[in-house]
């Protein structure tokens, strides 16, 4: 696998040459500072862009064109990475040697059309498309409460700190949706195209020179050079543990506990933190799983996820009705034990195995390979081989030192109850 990065002025082109796949994958990242008021608009924008363009007037026409190009797969995703909102638009298609000459370039043209030739007239997006997205998006936002796990997570993060970027709802906000018009959406589009940071990745069995020329020719973006912002979110203010409970009609409690990470070094954030989390709640061998679920039969699911850029660990659990506080005391004890250095060598070894397996897994998917190079670009993290070496050297003392910097911030319980709490 050869990796080349080229500065093409308005954006970086990253080429990963490999014969591991019969497909070529292209992914274009757009990112900007995470502002709450832009989340809904950005989601709206990627939905409407995937519906068609001036060259493909309807979703049906677009889909047929994709199918004719041997099922080129085009998709868009939005997420928040620390202080950034990040959008990835991607294309995956069989290499021309399995289809016909020119198929890949035509596929790129299609992606190019979706991004740079949107269905716009009189400085506004197409009305019919706009209304379609509006209604579907609204229905999605309205049904948010139906998925109790997601709903609890959102409420738990808002209870932690509703002003902080950590609580921004990735899915967006109904009140912001209502403010979007086909005109102001187009203004936002123009802003994204001209002001966002852009990185383009190509992965597959390609010729580096010719792919550079093709991309340069097709993606003529002129973004203003801007100074990058710091992706890392300020740690939460430490205070006494907040406990928030809310009732909802459900058969089960949903528990969210946020743990704040205070004054971590760069090294701690990239290495001991991954191991600490694997031990705490990273999988079926973790303390949370074995204590709360296996030994005490209190939960169907329970796990923890580190969000290193947010300076947070989030514990999530589906707990037997009325037993959440019982689960909380077990969790508190687990955290205390870790702080006091009660970590089996065996657990640490397992956590390292877990991590090195995840590293070996990257090569199994073109998107994972691209993602790992993108993180190097965005956050300046170590490359894969350095990561493996450093992670294997992490000591138990380093994990314990980290454990002492981790504190419960908020306990949020969405309590299952027989009647609707709103009544």
């Amino acid at each position: 696998m050869d990796y080349v990065k080229k500065d093409l002025g308005a954006y970086n082109l990253h080429i990963i040459k490999t014969n591991l796949y019969k497909t070529i994958t292209v992914k274009i990242f757009f990112r900007e500072e995470a502002l709450k008021e832009n989340i809904t608009k950005r989601n709206f924008l990627s939905r409407i862009m995937m519906l068609g363009s001036n060259d493909y007037k309807s979703k049906v026409e677009l889909t047929k064109a994709e199918q004719d190009l041997y099922a080129v797969n085009i998709s868009g995703t939005n997420r928040r990475i620390g202080n950034y909102l990040d959008t990835g638009l991607s294309l995956k298609v069989l290499h021309d040697k399995y289809t016909e000459p020119g198929n890949f370039e035509k596929s790129l043209d299609l992606l190019d059309s979706l991004i740079f030739n949107p269905k716009v007239s009189n400085n506004a997006f197409d009305e019919a498309d706009f209304n379609t997205v509006y209604e579907e998006y609204k229905a999605d936002l309205n049904s948010l409460v139906e998925n109790k796990m997601t709903y609890a997570l959102i409420k738990g993060l808002e209870a932690t700190d509703y002003k902080s970027v950590i609580s921004y709802r990735g899915i967006g906000y109904l009140e912001d949706l209502e403010k979007i018009t086909k005109e102001n959406l187009y203004d936002y589009y123009k802003n994204v195209i001209s002001h966002n940071f852009v990185d383009i990745f190509v992965l597959g069995d390609v010729d580096i020179e010719s792919i550079t020329n093709i991309i340069r020719d097709k993606f003529k973006i002129n973004t203003f050079k801007k100074k990058p912002i710091n992706a890392l979110v300020e740690p939460l203010k430490t205070s006494r543990i907040k406990t928030v409970k809310e009732k909802i009609k459900a058969e089960q409690d949903n528990l969210i506990i946020t743990l704040s990470l205070n004054n971590l070094t760069e090294y701690e954030r990239n290495y001991p933190l991954s191991l600490y989390n694997a031990i705490l709640g990273g999988g079926t061998e973790s303390l949370l799983f074995s204590e709360v679920r296996e030994k005490n039969s209190l939960a169907y699911y329970i796990s923890s996820t580190p969000n290193k850029l947010d300076n947070l660990i989030i514990i999530r659990g589906g707990i037997t009705k009325d037993k959440s506080m019982e689960a909380v005391s077990i969790i508190k004890k687990i955290l205390k034990d870790l702080e006091n250095g009660k970590i089996d060598d065996d657990k640490l070894t397992k956590a390292k195995e877990y991590y090195t397996s995840a590293i070996d897994d990257i090569i199994e998917s073109p998107f994972q390979i691209i993602e790992s190079y993108y993180m190097i670009e965005l956050l300046g993290v170590d490359d894969i081989e350095t990561k493996r070496k450093k992670m294997l050297k992490v000591t138990k003392e380093e994990v314990i030192a980290l454990a002492k910097k981790i504190k419960i911030n908020t306990i949020y319980i969405l309590e299952g109850s027989d009647d609707n709490g709103e009544n």
Binding site: M1, N19, L20, Y21, K22, T23, S58, K59, V60, T63, K64, Q67, D68, Y70, A71, L94, Y98, T99, A128, N131, T132, E135, E136, A139, N142, S143, V145, E146, N147, K148, K249, A250, E251, Q252, G283, T284, E285, F289, R293, S297, Y300, Y301, G318, T320, K321, T349, K350, K352, E353, Y354, Y355, T356, S357, A358, D360, D361, I363, E364, G416, N420
Partner: protein, 431 residues
């Protein structure tokens, strides 16, 4: 070792097959020699799932009925072990992943990893052949699975699905969720579990599919050596009760009030399989799935119309295969119920397919057969599906797809009968 070599035609892929003396069928899908990928995938399964609740237990003579949900319960319980080392711990130690799935037709234990292949395969074959059920561990599991059932019941989509299944099928166990019900789960005993285990977890009722960074000869050797340590019975025949599901639906209409914001609609159209013109099951499945793609996929006019007119915000369409019955299922989040239903009925009674569209979707499917060969896990899943549905590996999908034609499709469409249906609506409670 000489094993059967099978070419997957038109996609440049060779796989291997071996049947051990004890009856276990093994399918091996190795990576190409130049591949640098390290992952491997094992799927060790039994042809036993939620559909089988009534059978003659091995060594007994009477047809016996077992509580619904027992296959899934048994799957959970296989993760118990007599020693302190449980499967989850074992695989965690090697940075690998273990899980299991129960469907209506089968139960599979899967392992994914990229190191210690030999130990991991040995252990998979060992733990699935070492049941350890006690009254205590059965009681504990009842707590966990009841939670799982409660979690599902909180989900209105699941509620709609559960209800439509009950209203469609009178006899077929498809009428009950794979998990069972809260009351059936509570009836399960240790001895029930051993009866099910001893009957269905025997090598001649099981399969092992492995793919990725593995050597075929090594896999067969590990499996032979490991299984030789167990006293495995492959003599007696398995006698399972078969149901002849009546064609008529059980209940045509049901409305449930729940705290949903958007109405959930589920419809099932029940049809007799022998009325359909295609007798080959593999080919029939291809045509039925192609029909779904063409009539309800992203390139269909119907989908575009319901979207443009804001009739649904989300919808899914598929065929369910229930022995003598084929059911066309619709699941949707409906924004405008009367209009959507009317349009759907109208569309179904006038289904038409353009030959050009059929050819285009064939191109898509063939591409996907080629792309799939890049991913050992997808190939393993496909082979498992083939075994479960057809009891053999299908080696010529590309050819079968190429042979699909509009005449056969039209004959199939003309034979479909959308008159015998059940409808379930989960609607918002009035405040």
């Amino acid at each position: 070792m000489i094993m059967e070599k099978i070419e997957l035609k038109k996609v440049d892929k060779t796989i291997y097959r071996e049947v051990l003396d004890n009856g276990l069928e093994i399918i091996i899908i190795p990576n190409e020699s130049f591949s640098k990928k390290k992952n491997y995938y094992f799927s060790y399964g039994t042809y036993y799932g939620a559909l089988t609740n009534e059978f003659i237990p091995v060594g007994k003579s009477k047809m016996t009925k077992f509580p619904s949900g027992i296959a899934h319960f048994l799957e959970h319980k296989m993760f118990e072990s007599k020693s302190d080392l449980k499967p989850f711990d074992f695989y965690a130690k090697t940075g690998s992943y273990v899980n299991a799935f129960t469907s209506y037709k089968n139960t599979c234990y899967v392992v994914t990893g990229n190191k210690k292949m030999k130990e991991n395969l040995e252990y998979l074959l060992t733990f699935v052949n070492s049941p350890y059920f006690t009254d205590e561990n059965v009681a504990k599991e009842q707590g966990i699975i009841t939670e799982e059932a409660a979690m599902n019941d909180d989900n209105p989509d699941y509620l709609a699905f559960k209800t439509i299944s009950r209203n469609l099928y009178k006899l077929s166990p498809y009428n009950t969720p794979i998990l069972g019900t809260v009351s059936s789960i509570k009836q399960i005993t240790k001895s029930d579990l051993y009866n099910c285990y001893n009957t269905f977890y025997r090598p001649n009722n099981m399969f092992l599919v492995v793919g990725g960074a593995i050597d075929p000869d090594e896999v067969v050797k590990i499996a032979t050596d490991t299984l030789s340590r167990f006293k495995l019975d492959n003599t007696s025949e398995i006698k399972v009760k078969h149901y002849k599901e009546p064609v008529k639906v059980v209940k045509e209409y049901e409305e449930i009030k729940s705290n949903v914001k958007v109405e959930k609609l589920a419809i099932g159209y029940k049809m007799e399989r022998n009325k359909l013109p295609i007798k080959n099951k593999v080919v029939l499945d291809l045509y039925l799935n192609m029909l779904i793609s063409l009539c309800f996929g992203a390139s269909s006019n119907f989908r575009e119309m319901v979207r443009k007119r804001h009739l649904v915000s989300r919808s899914g369409y598929y065929f369910q295969d229930v022995d003598n019955i084929i059911t066309f299922m619709v699941e949707a989040d409906v924004l405008n119920d009367p209009v959507y239903l009317k349009e759907l009925e109208n569309y179904l009674s006038n289904l038409k397919i353009d030959a050009k569209d059929l050819e285009r979707i064939k191109k898509v499917w063939i591409s996907s057969e080629v792309i799939k060969t890049d991913y050992a896990d997808s190939l393993v899943d496909t082979v498992v599906d083939d075994l479960v549905n057809y009891h053999k590996v299908i080696t010529n999908y590309v050819e079968l797809i190429k042979n699909m034609n509009i005449d056969t499709m039209n004959k199939l469409i003309n034979s479909l009968d959308f008159t015998n249906k059940a409808i379930v609506k989960v609607i918002p409670k009035e405040d």
